[in-house]
């Protein structure tokens, strides 16, 4: 297991490095002169040249890449073109909000969706299984921003149960969660459907396997068979999906951030792209990419713990 953890972690680090390098090089594919775009049409050639030199844009790509990496390792992600504030500072302001939103958005579907899927598999063909089936498809089909808007209108504006916009200005956790409820609900609703369906399908497959028959032939109580023998195997594809899902939720959260006017990385990246704020785009994308790689790493490690056969394959 230790071997697997080490190998997989090293692989994750290599992936992050490679992803950052590729992202960096992609900036050069964007048409147009960065200096002209950044400084506006009225900038003189001298000002543009000075800008290029200060950004190091006139040096060869490899040198720029190397300089960039050394900066990143020191925590310097560059400087916002407009406000001249450090990119790292800007990111650190918004990351906690997005992180809180993403984590809450995945925790509640896990807590509800996985037991739903288990129940549906055990009571296959029953009434509740059919209801769960229809509901799952329904919630997957509705786009999250539609849910967000309707949730906002109904729960915040009409019923006034939850705040409509923004984040908590008070320090305590409970208040912050209060502001997160509606956005997390909007993003997570589709996930309940995904997880329920996936868990149901995996469980059905596993429950038909010979080793479950063996466990039952020893008179092991059905609850132990389900949770200790079957779920442990069936949950593996779900864990992998959640790992990838959390990573991609960061960018998917942009809809909820816009509808609920919350600060967050998704909105930040979106705004930066529109204003051609390259350093901020780069910084934001590096953060989201790294987050995705780390999430998949954790998911893989968890799977290796659950299913020892995974440890042999790297």
């Amino acid at each position: 297991m230790v071997n697997y953890v080490l190998k997989r972690t090293i692989l994750a680090i290599l992936i992050i490095i490679l992803a950052i390098a590729v992202l960096f090089c992609m900036v050069f594919l964007i048409p147009g002169d960065p200096a002209a775009i950044a400084l506006g049409p009225r900038a003189t050639p001298e000002i543009k040249q000075a800008f290029r030199e200060s950004m190091g844009l006139d040096k060869p790509i490899i040198v720029q890449l190397f300089r960039f990496f050394t900066n990143v390792l020191q925590g310097d992600l560059g400087v916002d073109v407009w406000s001249r504030r450090s990119v790292s500072t800007i990111l650190l302001e918004v990351i906690p909000h997005t992180l809180g939103l993403v984590l809450l958005s995945i925790v509640w579907p896990v807590v509800i969706g996985i037991p739903m899927g288990c129940y549906a598999a055990i009571h296959r063909h029953g009434l509740l299984d059919k209801v769960i089936g229809v509901v799952s498809v329904g919630v997957i089909a509705i786009p999250s921003f539609v849910v967000a808007i309707y949730a906002l209108l109904f729960f915040a504006v009409k019923l006034r149960w939850f705040p409509a916009i923004g984040v908590s200005d008070r320090g305590n956790i409970l208040n912050q969660v209060y502001y997160l409820v509606l956005p997390a609900f909007a993003i997570g609703l589709g996930w309940v459907g995904y997880l329920a369906r996936l868990v149901r399908a995996s469980m059905l497959e596993v429950l038909g396997e010979n080793y479950i028959r063996t466990a039952r032939s020893f008179g092991i109580p059905e609850s132990v068979v389900i949770f200790k023998h079957a779920l442990k195997v069936a949950i593996v594809p779900t864990v992998a999906l959640i790992g990838v899902g959390i990573g991609s939720l960061v960018s998917g959260a942009v809809f909820a951030e816009i509808v609920f006017s919350r600060p967050g990385i998704g909105k930040l990246i979106y705004d930066s792209v529109i204003t051609r704020n390259y350093p901020l785009v780069m910084g934001g994308v590096i953060v989201t990419t790294s987050f995705l790689v780390i999430c998949t790493l954790v998911a893989d490690l968890l799977n290796a713990y659950l299913d020892p056969r995974v440890r042999e394959k790297l």
Binding site: N210, Y211, T214, R216, S217, G219, I220, V224, H229, L306
Partner: protein, 321 residues
């Protein structure tokens, strides 16, 4: 004569397919005595696996028992509540299965599986582990302590099957059901496993119902044998009776077809032409009539009743004397 441990009376079972209801078991009678090894032999489609699943109560969703009773020490297993039936499984009645590689849970270590099976025992974990090591030694696994921490995919098929047999015998059951446990193993390993099974059985004096399609294996291990064809028992008796003095034409032909009994210089090997009858609408008369070389018109019209050839040797055939 030892006590009757299991008495299957008139058992009929069927399962649903898109084409209709298949009568997998038809009026099956079987008696298993304490401490004896009973074989059930038959070819594909004869219902032997369904019979074992019925006894241990692990039938598929779409299989149902239509008639009969399964009496274990006086209790009718078919009438027991699921809790009481579950109490018997893994304690008094254990089962081993055919495919060793899929019978064990791939994500739980061998040791934890063997501990899990002892869940009824009030011993400490260390004691349970000790018992597991002991039984693994008995089934011929070297380095048993080390194996407890391994996972099934790290063991060969033969070793997995040894583990399964060990697990089944941990609780020292009264009755062991064995569904073709050596069919998937190499011949040299098969012989060793049969030897170990016999010595374990002698130590525990449990009864075994051993299902196989291999006549040689049955004659090697069992004391008594029942031959099944198309869901029915066609002949039953001691192995001496069945293998040396078979009375049913199917059993006679089956023994003739076994290549190990045939003189190599014979030339063409005998076969039994035809197929088993359609079990969705089984024939009114004898099931074997369509393939029987001595069938008479009565065979196709009337079901043969069970006749006693001697005290323990029965046959279901109109023409058997």
């Amino acid at each position: 004569m030892s006590q009757i441990l299991l008495d299957v009376c008139g058992l009929s079972a069927s399962y649903l397919t898109p084409f209709g209801r298949v009568q997998a078991l038809r009026n099956v009678n079987l008696q298993v005595r304490k401490g004896k090894i009973t074989g059930i032999v038959g070819e594909s489609g004869c219902g032997k696996s369904t019979l074992l699943s019925s006894i241990i109560g692990l039938l598929d969703e779409n299989t149902s028992i239509d008639a009969g009773s399964i009496n274990y020490l006086g209790l009718n297993l078919l009438e027991l509540s699921s809790t009481k039936m579950r109490a018997l499984r893994g304690d008094q009645i254990s089962m081993i299965f055919q495919d060793p590689l899929t019978t064990l849970n791939p994500v739980i270590s061998i040791g934890n599986q063997m501990l899990g099976v002892q869940f009824r025992s009030s011993s400490t974990t260390a004691e349970k582990r000790q018992r597991a090591v002991g039984v693994l030694d008995e089934v011929g696994i070297s380095d048993a302590e080390y194996r407890l921490d391994q996972f099934p995919h790290q063991l060969s098929g033969g070793m997995c099957q040894r583990v399964s047999i060990g697990m089944a015998l941990l609780s020292e059951p009264q009755l062991l059901l064995a569904d073709e446990p050596t069919t998937a193993l190499d011949a040299t390993l098969e012989v060793e496993i049969l030897d170990r099974l016999r010595s374990l059985q002698q130590r525990l004096s449990c009864a075994i119902i051993f299902v196989s399609h291999n006549l040689g294996v049955i004659s090697e291990l069992c004391d008594e044998v029942s031959v099944m064809y198309a869901g029915e028992v066609v002949e039953q008796g001691d192995i001496q009776d069945i293998f040396l003095r078979p009375k049913h034409p199917y059993v006679q032909r089956l023994l003739e077809c076994d290549p190990s009994r045939i003189d190599p210089n014979q030339g063409k090997l005998p076969t039994i032409p035809g197929d088993i009858p359609d079990l969705i609408t089984p024939p009114d008369g004898c099931s074997f009539a369509s393939r029987c070389h001595i069938a008479v018109p009565r065979c196709r019209l009337e079901k043969p009743l069970i006749k006693y050839v001697s005290e323990r040797h029965t046959v279901a055939c109109h023409l058997a004397s």
